[in-house]
């Protein structure tokens, strides 16, 4: 052994590591923040999943006037399980019809000419549906599969349900919210507390500080995404058709783009009010336009090119393409370009405008 006393080597401290750790600790020690970031999106999926779950086939009430043919007609119509057939005398049928309790009334006729009289209301959608279902049963009973012109396929498998459409949208939405709040709010809070100024009075490198904020945001995001995808997979059977690597890449790119925008929003704001106002100004249009809950294709054609330029639209479209259609990233250069552009552009502007004190 060497007898000579060596001074203990100075312990190495990595500012980047310490800054990221500080952010992570602050976050996980704040139960409310944890709830809003992780719990809230899950609650949202559950609520929407229940609200829009595939409902059992809705039954359409149709009355049949009592008489000699009533039983036969009832049996014929009941072959379509969407119809709910009740038999009543004429007066009851008419009064139920008038009060809207039934969507159509079938009155078997005797004598020459048409065999049935069908009461319906062309201005009521349900009544029209009842009319066509009844017509179909009375005029083409028991179409055999061979002679049919149209082969009907019922589509209810995972991948094409509303919940499947919804999950990528919610994922995009939570990446947007997390990025903007997780970065913007934190920075403005530090500015108000004069902590930013205090840090600036140390030899801390500004780039490292900003990098730490971005890195910690990406760290928070990982469980956020895993919980969301895991939960919807377990409860609704939502699956990912495309490559997992592509999905991970997209999620990181989206988180980066929104963290950049969050940084930009926070670069000058001096009060919580101004930063919240700006955040809502940025997020609200995207909540409405970027196809979270329903397709933005319903907006006027002239608006579509602009809507597609929004970062959340690009992210949602890309997420859906990967998760629902199994497309590779190479098929979506434009969307990736839009996201990267937003991220890099706002990051650069934020660095230029950032108010450190």
């Amino acid at each position: 052994m060497n007898e000579q006393q060596q001074p203990a080597p100075a312990r190495r401290y990595s500012p980047l590591r310490e800054l990221v750790l500080a952010r992570l600790r602050e976050f996980y020690r704040e139960p409310e923040a944890v709830f809003w970031v992780y719990g809230f999106p899950i609650l949202m999926v559950v609520a929407l999943g229940i609200a829009f779950r595939n409902k059992p086939v809705e039954q359409i009430p149709v009355d049949v006037q009592d008489g000699s043919q009533a039983v036969e007609v009832k049996q014929l119509l009941e072959k379509d399980n969407r119809l709910l057939i009740r038999v009543h005398d004429e007066a009851t049928c008419l009064s139920r019809w008038k009060s809207g309790k039934t969507d159509a009334v079938v009155m078997p006729l005797s004598g020459p000419g048409p065999r049935y009289r069908l009461l319906h209301d062309p201005t009521r959608l349900e009544s029209q549906l009842a009319r066509s279902l009844v017509n179909e049963q009375l005029t083409h009973p028991a179409t055999s599969a061979e002679s049919a012109l149209v082969r009907e396929d019922e589509l209810q498998e995972p991948g094409s349900r509303y919940i499947d459409y919804l999950v990528p949208g919610l994922l995009g939405m939570s990446l947007m919210g997390g990025g903007l709040w997780g970065v913007g709010f934190v920075i403005v809070d530090m500015r108000i507390r004069k902590l930013l100024k205090r840090l600036l009075a140390t030899p801390m490198k500004r780039g490292e500080f900003l990098a730490a904020i971005m890195i910690s945001r990406l760290c928070f995001m990982v469980p956020e995404v895993l919980i969301m995808l895991g939960f919807t997979w377990l409860t609704f059977g939502v699956v990912i058709r495309g490559s997992l690597v592509a999905l991970v890449f997209l999620v990181f790119l989206g988180a980066f783009a929104f963290a950049g925008i969050g940084l930009l929003v926070a670069s000058r704001a001096k009060t919580m009010e101004s930063v919240s106002g700006l955040m809502n100004l940025i997020m609200l249009p995207m909540w409405m336009l970027s196809g979270i809950f329903f397709s933005y294709e319903r907006f006027p054609d002239v608006a579509l090119p602009f809507i597609r330029l929004l970062p959340l639209t690009a992210l949602n479209d890309a997420l859906r393409a990967v998760m629902l259609e199994g497309q590779p990233l190479t098929a979506q250069w434009l969307r990736l370009g839009i996201l990267t552009g937003w991220g890099v552009g706002s990051f650069v502007l934020a660095l230029r405008w950032f108010r450190w004190q």
């Binding site: 312990r11 507390r193 902590l195 009075a201 030899p203």
Partner: protein, 318 residues
């Protein structure tokens, strides 16, 4: 002696309507190894001055040199930052970090410095190492702020109002910590509006008012300049009114003033002045309702220089 801080003709005007001239031509030289105090009332420009020295504010005009280097000149910024430690007048450190984590974070920014444990020991926070910042008392938080300033083992410490708002015991504890830092050969610049703090802690004091240094010297020198070492304060029955100037000719009296019913005499020798004063009051038929004597303080120096009290802003009297 080397000047660790050198300010020449420092001016800072805040934009606004109207613009605020916070610092108006301030000159300062802080020497190696001393504890220097900027003493002045609220709004005097102390924070503005110290933040200019810290490189956090740009002066409107004037020169600042810190450790012989200048802000904004290439490598100088990092060199200065590595060698100074500061505490701001108000900083809210992160509530949910522990004391030790906070110190580690600040330690990580410096190339060389103290072990976090050593910094904690110096401010007597070792036992609180694992407590969240939110759980600390005001005095403990302030000590943590000083520990964050110390952890880079700085040559120069700049502390803005380190004891404002603290209870007397916490203040004394901080004074001990600051004295300890000074004993280790570090230079300290602090601001305060407590005259007793400046008197007990500082080797030299600059009294600042309206953005200028109006007096400079050791507390003892400043007090000596008033002429008398003692102060007699008295009030008269029936609010008896007579001109304090008529007392100036009493033996050993250096100056006489009256302020809101209270007469104040600066005297050199109490045993000479006091009997003479009592005799004069008897002659003129005035009856005393109260009389105290005390040593002259920096407060009296400030009053003599400006006609105002250091803490005027906080207790509006005049």
């Amino acid at each position: 002696m080397n000047a660790v801080i050198h300010c020449e003709n420092l001016v800072k005007t805040y934009d606004g309507k109207p613009p605020v001239e916070a610092v108006r031509g301030l000159n300062l030289a802080v020497l190696e190894g001393e504890c220097f105090g900027l003493l002045g009332p609220n709004g005097a420009g102390k924070t503005t001055t110290i933040e200019i020295i810290e490189g956090l504010l740009a002066p409107t005009s004037g020169e600042v040199a810190v450790l012989g280097r200048h802000w904004g000149r290439g490598e100088d910024d990092d060199t200065i930052r590595q060698r100074i430690g500061i505490s701001l007048q108000e900083t809210k450190l992160s509530d949910k970090l522990t004391v030790r984590e906070t110190i580690r974070l600040f330690r990580s920014f410096y190339r060389n410095g103290l072990e976090p444990e050593e910094a904690l020991r110096r401010v007597a926070l070792t036992e609180k190492g694992d407590s969240w910042v939110v759980k600390l008392s005001g005095g403990q938080r302030q000590r943590l702020a000083v520990a964050c300033a110390l952890v880079g083992d700085p040559h120069l410490l700049l502390l803005d109002e380190p004891t404002t708002g603290l209870d007397p015991q916490s203040r004394r504890q901080l004074w001990d910590i600051i004295r300890d830092i000074r004993t280790q050969g570090r230079t300290v610049l602090l601001t305060t509006h407590y005259m007793d703090e400046a008197e007990r802690l500082c080797d030299r004091v600059a009294i600042v008012d309206h953005g200028q240094v109006i007096a400079l010297g050791s507390p003892a020198e400043l007090i000596a300049r008033l002429g008398g070492e003692h102060m007699i304060e008295f009030t008269l029955k029936d609010n008896g009114a007579f001109d304090p100037a008529t007392l100036n000719d009493l033996p050993s009296v250096q100056s006489a003033q009256k302020e809101s019913g209270q007469y104040r005499l600066a005297v050199r020798e109490l045993h000479v002045a006091l009997p003479a004063l009592l005799g004069r009051l008897q002659q003129t038929g005035q009856a005393l309702s109260g009389l105290v004597t005390r040593h002259v303080s920096l407060e009296d120096v400030f009053v003599a220089l400006t006609g105002r009290h250091l803490r005027d802003e906080e207790s509006p009297k005049s």
